[in-house]
Symmetry: C2
Subunit: 139 residues, 2 copies
Amino acid sequence: MDKQEAMTNGLQLIEKSKICLLGTNGEDGFPNIKAMLNMKHEGLHKIWLSTNTSSRRVQQLKKDNRACVYYVDEVNFKGLMLVGTIKILQDIESKKMLWFDGAEKYYPLGIEDPDYSVLCLTAIWGNYYHAGNVTFKIE
Amino acid sequence: MDKQEAMTNGLQLIEKSKICLLGTNGEDGFPNIKAMLNMKHEGLHKIWLSTNTSSRRVQQLKKDNRACVYYVDEVNFKGLMLVGTIKILQDIESKKMLWFDGAEKYYPLGIEDPDYSVLCLTAIWGNYYHAGNVTFKIE
């Protein structure tokens, strides 16, 4: 599997995933993981997620925006890790872009709920695993 | 959901999970995630995983043994994070304990394969999510 193939397969894995795992630098230097809904992506370069502004994850990202997002196919043993930095967005366009039916469950005040934030990962590099690892830079 | 209930539900999530996600501190301070087979646990306190000694994850853990392990039920939106430190074990008893049919695929030389290592997480605290977060210390 060459790098181009790994990136193509990684993109397919994103497209079929219901969730992804967000990795952050937690308190006291310990890594943290949390499952998030797979929302939107632009190739492998940009990943958008939504979360509560009041969440532990947002507090961590305000202190340290280095993160990773991971997608997994546990049936076929495939995994994609994207590593980069996250911007916390609260502009109405980003919030509209990620809004979905049922989001009121998480953000009762709707799109303008101040407790609704959008996270945007800009990936620098990635690793695709399927019977072997391929690491690649993301331009 | 009180802490005891969260810990009981977390334990059930471990018991039904095929895989877990290992979070480590990667190069340049970025968190990394990798899917691993769910192998063995002792309550919420000890988690054992197996991996290749030559893997990127083992190299990272040799430099910094702070880690987390995450279990997810993506259908019912449940998640368990266990945070602690990892010991890399290569004693024959630990390696026998985690050996399984088919492990030759990963460790062709068998139980004594030097490229076969056991990781043991001692969890300090955890967080269980299901329609809300409950954080608890692990004694």
